[in-house]
Symmetry: C2
Subunit: 203 residues, 2 copies
């Protein structure tokens, strides 16, 4: 009724705007975020009480974008592979987000649900509780590294600077783009699964 219209704020609206800032510059501040949304910082705090909560809302948004849930496959390693493939795709679209999400505690129920599924699958496959979080940490590392690799431009290495004959041949044969990155990630999944089977009792 004649008042200036104010945007309808929600946790998701804030997360979308913050993610846009991170994609562009690798970071966001509360001041930038308030400006981007045309609101006062205090209005943000009515929805998300801290930078940590905003980062967690972004992580939750990105996981939801990828419908990141554990689908049951016929085997435990099929389930793990499917989950990690989707997880990689999510973060390949937002590579600058990687060091932000690793710097904050996982706490949202949606995101924790993914780790619940991964933990139950690995535990059911025989990974002992005492090594379970270490294996999950390795899964995170492989996926986030592979997401950065998928987001990276070609070439990864300047072959003209290499001296190792094996490396020179490997770079020349490796191909490029998504095909190269996907093949490297699929081999990483093979190595991960083989490692789980031989080292920590996965079966």
């Amino acid at each position: 009724m004649g008042r200036p219209s104010t945007p309808l704020l929600s946790s998701d609206v804030i997360a979308v705007a913050a993610l846009r800032l991170v994609d562009r510059s690798g970071e966001f501040t509360i001041a930038q975020l308030a400006q981007a949304l045309g609101v006062r910082p205090s209005s943000l705090y009515n929805h998300l009480g801290s930078k940590a909560e905003i980062v967690e809302a972004i992580r939750s948004l990105v996981f939801r974008e990828g419908t990141l849930t554990a689908e049951d496959a016929a085997t435990w390693d099929g389930t793990v592979r499917n989950l990690l493939r989707r997880y990689r795709e999510c973060f390949a679209r937002h590579p600058r987000l990687v060091p932000l999400v690793t710097a904050y505690t996982v706490s949202s129920p949606e995101v924790m649900g993914v780790y619940d599924d991964l933990a139950e699958t690995l535990s059911g496959a025989g990974v002992p509780v005492g090594q379970l979080l270490d294996v999950i940490t390795m899964c995170d590392s492989v996926v986030l590294g592979a997401a950065l690799d998928l987001a990276a431009p070609d070439p990864g290495w300047d072959v003209d600077q290499a001296r190792s004959p094996a490396l020179i041949a490997a770079i020349q044969q490796a191909g490029s783009g998504r095909e190269r990155s996907d093949r490297a990630f699929e081999l990483a999944l093979d190595l991960l699964v083989a490692g789980i089977t031989t080292v920590v009792g996965g079966r």
Copy 2:
């Protein structure tokens, strides 16, 4: 002789200043870098001709800080483990640098020398040329993910939000800080080496 003193610019001086900006904000611009060094942008270009060259100078600096060279161990996997341990330490000190270095081609001779050593070691261990770059890419992923993990604050997961009994027990037993992160990384190295041995013919 009465002229305002100008800083003695070099590639290393530029890289140190750019790394400081990245550590603080996750990014640098040429304008910010010139301002931080008290010079004009054109003076930077006399030493490093593009943002890509500056990123590569930072990567080279960080690798040198960690005296990142392949030391011969008694076994191929000992050599790989030592190299990847040092590589992780380098980037754990500069987590915000991770998505920047992965976004640019490896081209400096010092940095390429590390990949030369890694390639020769893995090749000597029986990894076929056709899978060599994929294995190296996985090594990069594991290390950079583990560096981000080491740089992260505790806890990684809010146990109160977990529902999986296995995950709850795993989080409660995992410990914290460097001890937790180091143990996870050492297990990751075990899984990586086991995977190389069983999947791609390392021996």
